[in-house]
Each structure stands twice: as C-alpha cells, then as structure tokens.
Amino acid sequence: MTWTIVVGVKQVPDDDEIGIDPDTGRLDRASAPAVMNPPDRDALEAALSIADEVDARVVAMTMGPPMATPVLEEAVAMGCDDAVLITDRAFAGSDTWPTSLTLARAAEALDADVVVCGEETTDSSTGQVPPGIAAHNGWAQLTYVEELEPDPEGGRLIATRDVEGGHERVAAELPVVVAVAYGEFEARPAGLHRKIYAENDFEPAQLTAEELGIADEVGLAVSPTAVGGMETVEPVERRGEVVDDVDGLVEPIRGVET
C-alpha cells in the first residue's frame, strides 16, 4: 500500500526580519517579508523522512491566500510530490476551529494516511490545529514528536514523543495526525532542479470551501473565539548596563535580596 502523507504548511511573517524599533522598543512586523513557518520545515522533513522508508506520496497543503503559494513551492522543491492551495474568501476570520476543520476535510479529500504538522505557528502560536484536525476526523494524533518509525505492516506509525520530564514511545493507528517538535527534524536542502521546477513551472492545485463542502462552516461566524482587545505590553524595563569586569557583576548579585 502506498501511504499518502499530507503536510500542513503555513506562511507567516519572518520573525528574524522583524526589527525592534529602538525608539519604542516594539517589534516592527509590518515590513517583515512572508516566509514558511519555521516549525513547518521540520514537518516537511519528517514527512519526507517517512517517505524515504515506506512507499509514500507526500502532498503539502496550505490554507491561505494565493499569495501563500511560495510555501507550497518550497515544499515541492524540498521533495513533496504535489501541493494544494486551499483558498476561499469564505475562510476570512477563521480561528483554529474552522481552520482545523478545513485542513481535516482537505486531508480526507486527499486520502491521507498521515498528516504531518509543525509544533505551532510563529504568528498564532496555538499548536491547536493538529489536534483539531485529528478531532474533526476522529483520527489518532501524536504531538511533540521527536522521532518517527513507520510500521506499514501493522498499519501504524510509532513516534517518540517529548513528555514533560521524559519521553514516551507511542504507536498510533492510521490515519494519524502528527505534530513534530520544533528543531528535531532538520530540513533537507532543496535539489537544484526541483527548486527551479517548483518556483517556475509548478502550479499547485486549488481547493475551495465549496468543493470541500464546508462553505457554511468556516469563517468568522463559526469561530468560537474572538479578539476582545489588544493591549501593548510595555517592554520590561532593564538597566541594560554592560560592566567592564566580572567584579561589576558581583555587587548586583549580592544586592539581590531573597
């Protein structure tokens, strides 16, 4: 049996390029270019490494505006066999509930045996989408995964998970949703010819909410959570004093009353 592995990738503003405005001490996000969510590179690597071991097809998916296509191109450049852009105006204002519903339906449509996601996104940082996908489809899930061992005979995927203070090895039946721990799967570089192909000649397939049959179940209206307000947090005031010798640290440390 050929496994179908679907990878969720998302475009986010580049954290590294987000400068700190020295006057306000705040982050200047607006000017940051859009990049692939860094933890999703780990997800791609994990997916491709499963495909190295078992007969598998790897398909990347993203739910986002057409502008997000470059993350799919990057995925194909790295080695994904194909990619799908799930895009629709109806998605506007979706929180994690409709987002994970959409990705769950897309994973079903793609006949996924395994869905691989990143630990969390750097822009919404909830880490809820992968368990959400699993819950919507009633599939097994494996989060904070550091190692993967496919077990095609048993129709299972075995994972080493990071649990507080240690590790566990868990076997899950297919289909399964995996969220890999950030930093555990170092992404392989894209091959030259694949990169040229992905960036210039590849066109991802597109899927709409209508086609997934969820046009009335996505967007702002069905999102249970809403942003009630935003406050800027004053950056913590620190002295920022750099001392010339180690003695300069001794006094302040002694000064700390406990």
């Binding site: 449509a109 990169k195 192909y197």
Partner: protein, 455 residues
Amino acid sequence: MSAILDGRVGDAAIEEPNYDGEFDAVVVGAGLAGSAAALTMADRGLEVLLIERGSSPGAKNVFGGVLYTPTIRELVDLEDAPLERYVAEKRFSMLSHDDETALSISPGEWRREPHNDSYTVLRGEFDEWFAEQAVDAGATLVTETTVTGLLREGREVVGVETDRPDGGVEAPYVVLAEGANSLVGEGANLKATESRENVAVAAKEVLEFPNGENVIEDRFRLFGDAGVSYHYFGEGAVGEAFGGGFIYTNGDTVSVGVAYRLEDAAANDQSPEETLNLFKSHPRVAPLLRDARTVEYSAKTIPEGGAESVPDLAHDGAVIVGDAAGLVLNNGVHLEGTNMAVESGYHAGRVIADANARGRTDADALEAYGRALEESFVVKNLERYAWLQETVEEDRELLFETMPTAFADAGAEYFRMDREPKAEHASRAKRAVVDALGGWRGLAKLALRYRKVVT
C-alpha cells in the same frame, strides 16, 4: 483519492525535473553585471538561468555608493527604480589629522534630468529590482544557491555546479558575474587570484538619524531628491594607507565608508572597522554624523588592478564580467564600478546572443565581447588611469600626509588674522606648499605627473 480532487493532485508534479540543456546560458551572480547580462540575453530570446547565493539579489552586496546609470538607462526604464537621491554635489576633501581643505563641485546641470546619471542607491533594494527586470524579460532566477564550480568538457565550460543536491546544470554559455571575490573563476583557472597590492578593502556603514526631521537635508544643504557624494583622502581619512573615505546621502540614511589597499590594511594591524571608526570621529566628519545610529555594517574587497589585471574575458563557453573581471576604476577621484559592470554585462549578453544565433560557443566567437569592451569607455578609462596606482604609490607619503597638512597650513597662513600685511601671509602660504612639495621643480613635476587625473 476523492472525486473532488480526481486528476488534480498527483498529476501536477513531475517526477524528477531536469533542466540540463533547457537554458541557453547560466549567469553566476545576480549583481549589476549579472542581471545586465541576463536581461540582455533574455531580451534577445535566450533562456537564461540567473543564480544568486544571497536570499535575494543584493542582500549581501556591499557598496558605497553611487550608481552610474548611462548604460542601465538604455536597458531598463529607471522610472520605478529604487533610486535614493541624485548626486547634486561632489566634494573632495583632504584631511590631515585635524585639518580639512576641500573643493566642492555642484553644477546646475546636475540638478536637472538626467542628473549626470549619478544616483545614490541601496544595493539590497536596487539589485533586487534590477534582477526583477531580468525576470520580467524572461530570465529564471534562483536564489540561496551558490555556484561552487564549473562543469567542463575538455576546455569547454558546459555548465555550473552548485551547493545544492543534484546541483549541476548544463548550458552552452556561462557568464561569471560573481563580483570581486571571484572564487569560481579563480577555481576554474579562468583568472588569476588578484595579487594583494591590487585589492582594496572597504568597510561601510549605513547610518540613520533617529532624532528629528530633515536632518540629512539640513546638514548636507539639500532640497528634495538632491544628494551629495563626499570623498576624503589623506591621513585623516584612512591613516597612512592608500585609499580614502566617503559619505553618500541616501533617502533617510547616509552611507559612510573607507576603502584602502589590502596590503596596507594587513601591515597596519588595524581592522577596517577601526579605520572606519577613526574616520567617523575626525573633527570635520563627526559633526555630519552627530546622533546617527548604525543600522548596517559590512566589509568587502574591491579589485583595483586597473587595465593590466583584467583577465582574459572570453573562454570556450564562458565570459567574465563586472568586478569579477576587475572592471573597477578606483583612483581616489573616481570610484566607479557600477557603470562598468552594467556595460560589460550588456556587451557579454549581446555577444552571447549573437554567437548563439550562429551556433558558436568557442572563445574566438566570444572574443567580440572583449573587443566591444576595449572600444567602450570601460577599458579606455581603466587604461587612462593605469599609471596612477604606481605613481601614487611612489608619492604616497607626499600625497597623503605632507600635502594635506601643507594645504591646510597654507590656508591658515593665507587667511591669518594678525597685524602683519597680507603680502607676508601670502608669500608664507606659498612657501608652505612649495617647500612641502619639493620646491618649484618638485611642484612642476608633480603637476605633470598627475595632470591626466583631471585633464
């Protein structure tokens, strides 16, 4: 696969894409020379692959600078180009450790279109835009990819090798536009490693003025899009080294830097960064930069061997353009590489397109590129100043130490306010210069030696 996706996923991607032979030419480096070559070839219907190691073209490029646009203007519409300011004033200063003697040039003509084809730019923005023009013309750009070597069949260059897996790509023509630090060309023995005395190091910072509006306009006496390029020499600029300092005004920032001979940099055991800091703190420079904050620091090399160190430009299946070919004029008065980079890229592209039409890839066919350069301002200018390096080297102490002080002393003497008659001051001022420069005979010789710089 479900019905809704039938046929739509799985068919799109091809198994193992292969672009060997799909491109007519590969260009190494999306700097000014590379993009000019790519654009020229794409305009003539060639399939071009432009390979850049940076995350975007220009991301890593260090530069003063002033972009000279006579050739680029012919290739693209500069209307939407990210130009910072046009150069309305050029100022040349001699600095001793605490004196300055300066000459400022600001012709009315420079304030009118096309502004003497001299604009300050930030390369991170400009190179990206210029490469985009090549892509719009049909070229294919891949970034974050470093060319590590050339593919060869016998003597013939037939493609490039990159640092990516599956990283070789074959094409009939390769344009080496990798800039001054041309590891690929050197590695493939298409050019010799620049000897130390022919390489300058440069350190540059981009500074911004966080406090206050219109700081740049006020400090440099500017209106609208006008800008300045200030050039400094003498020991107050780069110590005893052969070279100089510069300040260029961008839109909201200024570029400040020093460039001097690598040999001196090594001998002086002072880092380019330290030299730059000393220059920035010169009493005549510091006020221009007061309250500025560094937003970017970079260091780089500049070839300055002149016409003699230009390597063979045409090889079987390959040509060398821009800084990689040593096409920079850096003599203190002029620091020009951008115009030469674009001009050389343009000629190389044109000649390859012609050769391609005739089915030729051999060096003889590509030799037309070298000839075109020789007939252009590029080689003519380099030749014109070829003698300068050596001569300056001989007069180093005189030019960079004695002269700045002598001129400053003369100025101080000439305008001295005391109760002596002016005639006394004038003759003492004259004597200060004449003595310092080796008497009247010395002065006459010096004038003869350097007349070509300005005539």
